[in-house]
């Protein structure tokens, strides 16, 4: 079998202690909660931490609490299954709860956490294989090499943003609480990511994502549509989150965030402007979806053809908006 390499496992007594450990080890350390992303990647030599810092036992990271603004504070180590089945979250943030419910398989949702999913590694089928396979192919810039195998002319890694929950959280203007050696800061989830598949997160290695703040939904209604090869297990080939505010049958405001079509989730809400103040109409929706899908840059590094994934981006956006607005 594929074996884990040697590493030290540290079990901090608190978030503060975890931050101290990270300050000491920096990028030589990795935090782990559910382990569904990190463990297989360690087995394949894609991530080689000296120190693994366990977080999932920390009660302070496992709470779902009502926030002062009427929203919710969700601890990073709350499992995806808990979010997916929490009635309050389902009702306030149907898109986010649905995204959590669509991650991988039941077993992995019981183990995987919402913090882990927001931080999930970018994916690429030139990268997500064993050390021996990558050696045979030639290493890529994301690990051990200096070229992007799917886009050799690219200066940056083009691995694919693969979190289902990130676009849903962004569409609800969620923020994330980070704690590092210099204290804590709260940032929009959208700003956690950047257009680089290798350095896909903006936070420093010493910072821990401790919680997700979902603002009060107000009249925002949301949805998430995931395109994947099979009815379970698979990462998104395309993901589209939509949130709308309605004024009767008319759309008053609309946000759209797409994922898995580049190294970071993309907020394409501007393209939805054409919908504002109107009833949903197939022709306009089609136009909006086509415009919103324009920044999508799927490449030949995931399942099925990139042409198909590009076209499915439009389809996913249309469906997400329809679902959020509750029109068939």
């Amino acid at each position: 079998m594929l074996r884990l390499p040697r590493f030290s496992y540290l079990r901090p007594g608190s978030v503060t202690e975890a931050v101290e450990i990270l300050a000491e080890y920096g990028s030589r350390a990795r935090v782990v909660a559910g382990g569904t992303d990190l463990v297989p990647k360690m087995k394949r030599g894609q991530i080689e931490p000296e120190v693994v810092v366990g977080l999932s036992h920390l009660e302070e990271l496992r709470r779902i609490e009502k926030a002062n603004d009427g929203g919710f504070e969700i601890g990073a180590c709350v499992t995806l299954a808990e979010v997916a089945t929490n009635p309050a979250l389902q009702s306030a943030y149907p898109g986010y709860a649905k995204a959590a419910a669509l991650v991988s398989s039941p077993a992995l949702r019981n183990s995987g956490t919402i913090g882990g999913n927001l931080c999930v590694d970018t994916r690429c089928n030139y990268y997500d294989e064993s050390y021996e396979w990558r050696k045979a192919l030639g290493f890529c810039m994301k690990k051990d090499g200096d070229i992007c195998r799917v886009a050799p002319a690219s200066a940056t890694c083009r691995a694919i943003a693969s979190s289902d929950t990130a676009p849903a959280a962004i569409s609800m203007n969620a923020t994330a609480l980070l704690i590092g050696p210099d204290g804590q800061r709260e940032v929009p989830v959208a700003s956690l990511y950047q257009d680089n598949g290798k350095f896909y997160m903006t936070k420093s290695p010493e910072e821990i994502l401790v919680s997700l703040h979902m603002p009060a939904p107000g009249s925002w209604k949301s949805s998430y549509v995931k395109v994947r090869s099979r009815g379970s297990i698979d990462f998104p080939l395309v993901g589209a989150a939509a949130a709308v505010q309605m004024d009767g049958p008319k759309i008053e405001a609309c946000r759209v965030v797409i994922t898995a079509v580049g190294p970071q989730p993309l907020d394409v809400s501007e393209a939805a402007a054409a919908l504002i103040g109107r009833e949903i109409d197939a022709a306009v929706l089609e136009e909006v979806a086509a415009e919103a899908a324009k920044p999508a840059r799927p490449l030949d590094n995931a399942d099925l053809s990139y042409v198909w994934r590009k076209r499915m981006t439009r389809r996913a956006i249309e469906q997400a908006i329809r679902e959020a607005a509750d029109v068939a």
Binding site: M1, L2, R3, S105, N125, D128, E129, S130, E132, W133, K135, A136, L137, G138, S229, R230, G231, S232, I233, D234, D303, L304, S305, V307, W308, R311, M312, R315
Partner: protein, 790 residues
């Protein structure tokens, strides 16, 4: 999900019932020791160093850095394994560890035995291999060109051609000349792999000149022979034990590198040596479905009767021979077992490429031509305005006939199976609507190959039934790979002896303990080992009945057997009575297929079988007219089983075949890119999940074959076959486009829809068939009826 109803209507006591498998409890409670669970004292662990190059000459191998590592006990290379082997005598092209050149990414070059796997892996990485890369051949078309440097193998040829064949039966040109309608089509079937849940694992010991190998293998008989050959040892000093099995599907039917390596390392170190492959290594070990490019031309009469058929195939064999020569011939052999083809020409070729070697997977060489043939007939039916079911019916083979390629057909439930699924699914009454479709297809499969893999006159299956201490033990070389062969043997013996299957102890899959059975391949075990068991058990029954009759002073015909009793005595009393009189009670049975079931021409060894199973399926699905995404709704399948020995396990096999067929139809693909397997992992090599599996309604058609044990035929492979073309046909029914290539993925459907939208043919698939230097066609004279039984 499937209807589990209706056991076989019969006066038999246990045969045909839905009973649990005899080995179910051990597996359920986790006590069954699979190959990887075997842990002998002082075991060393083996890892294989595999090639990073698709095609390269080996300049040098330096194992000294590995040998110098603490914990490393032995390192071997081809120098330690000079004798070549291979499952087929005509393609013995493997050393286990290659020393002169490597032929695909994953080809093993060295093996390490160390105190643990971690050390063995580190030692593999320390071995220095110097390569001189050669041009990598990645496609059939490329393999047909003259090699720019050297062919992949140093035998066969020309170039990278491994095997080719060309046969003609009947007058094909005449058949086309008198046809009212002729159509040609080109199809491609992408390769895919078996994906067993259990990775291959093997442990060897070498004690006092006796080599013992425990392995997750389907064919201990052939592995035994290969090890004796490789190590130049007498057969009597080699014992191969097939461990309880976590799935084969054809992928554990060859002798393998890791088996050879653990044996050699055990011989060198004197310690047990174990090797368990990683999932990635299983993808490299492969021996799975060949990618096949196909061209078919068929002429029909005005009323849709086939007048002539010309079928061409080209198989991408990967880097080694494996079962290749047989695989190639199987792409042409079984077409005439379902349809009456009065004139038939077949041309096939298998080429070497720098990929993991292909071999047998469930349906061996026949799902590809079945896909092509069924779709081709659908298209002909559409062209001539005939219902596709009716077109097929007009051409169905009849029971107890002889095909144009000399195959003997016995029982045949094609009509009944078709009737069942057509009626149950409402296929002919289906409503046409965009995005919803139904497809129908039929197939047949063999109940065991008529000939063994290497020429020998031994029976194909032998069985010993022993009664001792009042109990029954049955010894047979057959290997239970999860298909339930132990249950079949126990059920047959139980039926004869008036017991329950759980009363019979089975000793199987062990070449040191049980008599010959060729192995679990070609769907042969129920038919062949079942007959051997029937013979042995029946003889034992007579011994016990006679003993009881003598004691009771009555005629043997007055002694009834059943409910655990022989006459008025309990089975145990009767057994002790007979043993007191005769000593240890042992009977034997053996089976070899009849001689007259095939022709007597070159290449006639592939295709003949003592019986053929038949299947018919209807698939109902929704296909999205924008995205091409498919939602499977339901599958109806009817299978001519002859008679089920155990209705529950037969239904399980049918469902398993449907599941695997749907995966092949929709997503499974062993793809290569830049000279290596594109996605050798279970996450990215897609096969159906629980969520993708539709409801399956299974019907068993009982034709009671005259030669099968109690009339039984095979079920392990046949039910997969009609599923794939039925899916393709349903997609066409739903969207009006043809996807003439497997797997039928949404992006291919979208391409076909695009093509139609642009005014071109609404089709995705290969556009042409390459010019192939097939050998001169051998015209085979008609079957000589005077040597036939009918």
């Amino acid at each position: 999900m499937t209807t589990i109803e209706g056991e076989s209507a019969t006066d038999l006591r246990v045969v045909g019932k839905s009973l649990p498998k005899v080995d179910a409890v051990g597996k359920l409670i986790g006590l069954t020791a699979y190959a990887d669970d075997i842990e002998l004292p002082n075991t060393l662990f083996c890892k294989l160093l595999r090639s990073h190059h698709p095609h390269a000459r080996i300049i040098s191998i330096d194992t000294s850095p590995a040998l110098a590592m603490e914990g490393v006990v032995a390192v071997i290379t081809q120098d330690d394994l000079p004798v070549k082997y291979g499952i087929m005598p005509t393609s013995e092209d493997e050393h286990g560890l290659e020393g002169e050149k490597v032929r695909f990414v994953g080809d093993p070059v060295a093996a390490v035995a160390a105190v643990d796997e971690e050390t063995a892996l580190a030692a593999c990485r320390a071995i220095k291999v110097e390569y001189q890369p050669l041009e990598a051949i990645e496609s059939i078309e490329h393999a047909l060109l003259p090699p720019s440097d050297e062919p992949i193998q140093d035998y066969a040829g020309p170039g990278n051609i491994h095997r080719a064949g060309a046969l003609e039966f009947g007058e094909v040109d005449e058949g086309f000349a008198k046809s009212n309608y002729i159509r040609e089509d080109v199809f491609f079937y992408e390769g895919n792999t078996h994906l067993p849940m259990e990775q291959h694992s093997a442990t060897a010991t070498y004690v006092g000149d006796q080599l013992t190998l425990w392995s997750s293998t389907q064919n201990p008989h052939y592995v035994h022979r290969a090890m004796a050959k490789v190590f130049e040892m007498p057969m009597s000093h080699v014992r191969v034990i097939a461990a309880p099995h976590g799935g084969g599907f054809g992928g554990k039917a060859d002798p393998f590198s890791h088996e050879v390596a653990v044996c050699k390392l055990a011989m060198i170190t004197g310690r047990p040596v174990k090797c368990t492959l990683t999932r990635e290594e299983v993808f490299y070990t492969h021996r799975g479905r060949h990618p096949v490019l196909m061209w078919v031309r068929t002429g029909v009469s005005e009323d849709g009767k086939i007048q002539a058929m010309h079928f061409r195939t080209a198989l991408d064999g990967g880097a080694y021979g494996s079962y290749g020569p047989a695989s190639m011939l199987y792409t042409g052999a079984l077409q005439p077992t379902t349809y009456n083809i009065p004139a038939y020409r077949f041309e096939g070729v298998r080429v070497f490429t720098n990929k993991a070697p292909c071999g047998p997977k469930r349906g061996h060489g026949t799902p590809q031509p079945r896909f092509a043939l069924e779709l081709h007939l659908d298209k002909i039916a559409e062209d001539i305005g005939l219902d596709p079911v009716e077109l097929r019916r007009r051409n169905f083979v009849k029971p107890y006939t002889r095909t144009i390629n000399h195959l003997r057909i016995t029982s045949c439930g094609l009509e009944e199976a078709t009737e069942q699924v057509i009626e149950a699914s409402g296929f002919l009454r289906r409503k046409k609507s965009l995005g919803h479709g139904m497809g129908f297809a039929i197939s047949s499969y063999m109940c065991g190959a008529g000939l063994p893999i290497y020429w020998n006159k031994l029976p194909h299956s032998e069985c010993i039934v022993q009664v001792n201490r009042g109990g029954v033990s049955l010894y047979c070389g057959a290997t239970d790979i999860g298909q339930g062969s132990d249950t079949v043997l126990a059920t047959v013996a139980a039926e004869e002896l008036g017991l329950w299957p759980s009363d019979i102890r089975i000793f199987s899959g062990d070449t040191g303990l049980a008599p010959v059975d060729l192995g679990s391949y070609s769907s042969r075990v129920t038919f062949m080992a079942g007959n051997a068991a029937l013979q042995a058990a029946h003889e034992m029954r007579e011994i016990l009945v006679n003993a009881v009759a003598e004691k009771m002073e009555c005629s043997p015909s007055e002694v009834t057997v059943g409910e655990g009793k022989i006459g008025e005595m309990t089975f145990e009393e009767a057994a002790n009575l007979a043993q007191e009189k005769l000593g240890v009670l042992s009977t034997r049975g053996s089976y070899a297929p009849p001689k007259n079931i095939g022709g007597r021409f070159k290449a006639s060894g592939v295709g003949p079988s003592p019986a053929y199973s038949y299947s018919a399926a209807v698939v109902d699905l929704d296909a999205d007219p924008y995205s091409g995404e498919i939602q499977l709704n339901k599958v109806w399948i009817a299978h001519d089983i002859g008679r089920p020995i155990n209705s529950l396990t037969v239904r399980g096999q049918v469902e398993g075949g449907v599941y695997m067929g749907l995966g092949e139809a929709l997503m499974e693909a062993q793809l290569y890119r830049h000279g290596l397997h594109k996605v050798p992992s279970m996450l990215d090599y897609k096969s159906l999940t629980f969520m993708d599996m539709p409801e399956v309604e299974t019907y068993l058609v009982e034709t009671i074959d005259l030669e099968g044990p109690y009339g039984a035929k095979e079920v392990g492979q046949g039910p997969l076959l009609p599923v794939i073309p039925a899916v393709a046909s349903a997609v066409h029914d739903a969207l009006g486009v043809w996807v003439d290539e497997v797997p039928i993925t949404p992006d291919k459907i979208m391409r076909a829809l695009d093509a139609r939208a642009k005014g071109r043919e609404g089709r995705y698939g290969p556009k042409s068939f390459p010019a192939i230097p097939y050998p001169t066609i051998v015209k085979v004279p008609p079957f000589d009826a005077s040597s036939s039984s009918f």
